[in-house]
Symmetry: C2
Subunit: 205 residues, 2 copies
């Protein structure tokens, strides 16, 4: 079966976004990361920054979230918590993007949302703490918190969000088609491996 | 860092042994599966069949195991349960094999035993139940039990054994350098991907 939709799930700082963009460029297909956030923002009425920060994080704010309504779309949340409302839109947008044609989608539990899509290839990338700590400081700069603490917090939020909405365990190999340690294999090689799989799937279609 | 020692951990029926042999053949290095069992048998005094059946299974028999002593080596178990005794020998044999030079080692928690070996590449292979069920019937024949039940039992035993001796979660992507779904990617392609990684690691050594 030809693989045309590539989902990239990733530990924070492991290079998932970079790999996603490389794969999209090499295959000449659209890359959805920031674009995905923007589209969810448009459909939900939330600010892109809000979607970016909450779309993959734990739904712990749900109890309070009923108090908020997205600007300009009063009443559309139908009694859902903000987190659940955002999740529903996210599912819809991701399914629509996959419908549009070949693409690379980074994050937002797209592996689960598209788990039954026959043309989807699900990739998980990760790396050990020292590699990711060095990388986030280099890419995103220093902050008040130690990089290890930033990683631990972000990892936990993604893990809880994933578990909550999918019922699956974050990082369990069987949820994906291929899992790659970017620290050991290098970002470029990881992208090449995925591109190779996609190209090979085209031969056998 | 050049990768010279390849460990293959695998779900029962996913083709780990076949992939391991393909990789060893393509790289021209020794392949340890049956040979590993035989060596553990020699060092432990247990029959190869006993080692094969118990070396990766849950240590549930431990309480009773004190009653048994391997033939010809009375007293060598030093008060360890059979399972712990076997585990110690397994660790020693695997460390010795890695010391001898490049090789492919299938199963027996070698990923954990060699987790700090800088030249080791740790691979996990898996596949969904229908793929593995079809495969075990084709390879090992029918039995009284349904193939799904045989898979569930074997998976559970390996999972419990791994958890017991390593403290880690079986199938968690972060325990390995690369995880591959043989049902989706095909056994030959999985072997080629691993061989490609090893060959690339040689360039940069």
């Amino acid at each position: 079966m030809e693989k045309t939709i590539i989902t990239i799930s990733r530990e924070f700082g492991s290079g998932g976004r970079t790999i996603g963009r490389m794969i999209a460029d090499k295959l000449g297909i659209p890359f959805y990361d920031k674009e995905l956030v923007d589209q969810i923002a448009v459909e939900s009425g939330f600010a892109p920054k809000y979607v970016e920060e909450h779309g993959e994080h734990s739904p712990s704010g749900s109890l309070f979230a009923y108090a908020f309504t997205p600007q300009g779309v009063p009443g559309v949340m139908n009694g859902l918590s903000t987190a659940d409302f955002l999740w529903n839109i996210q599912c819809r947008v991701i399914l629509q993007l996959a419908e549009k044609g070949p693409c690379v989608i980074v994050g937002r539990n797209a592996d689960y949302i598209l788990k039954d899509h026959p043309e989807a290839l699900h990739v998980f990338v990760f790396a050990d703490i020292p590699y990711r700590a060095e990388r986030i400081v280099r890419r995103y700069g220093e902050s008040e918190k130690a990089p290890e603490q930033r990683l631990a917090e972000k990892d936990k939020r993604r893990r809880v969000n994933y578990q909550h909405y999918t019922g699956r365990t974050w990082g369990q190999a069987q949820n994906y088609d291929i899992c790659l340690d970017t620290g050991v294999l290098g970002i470029e090689q990881c992208a090449d491996i995925v591109v190779g799989i996609v190209e090979k799937s085209r031969e056998g279609k």
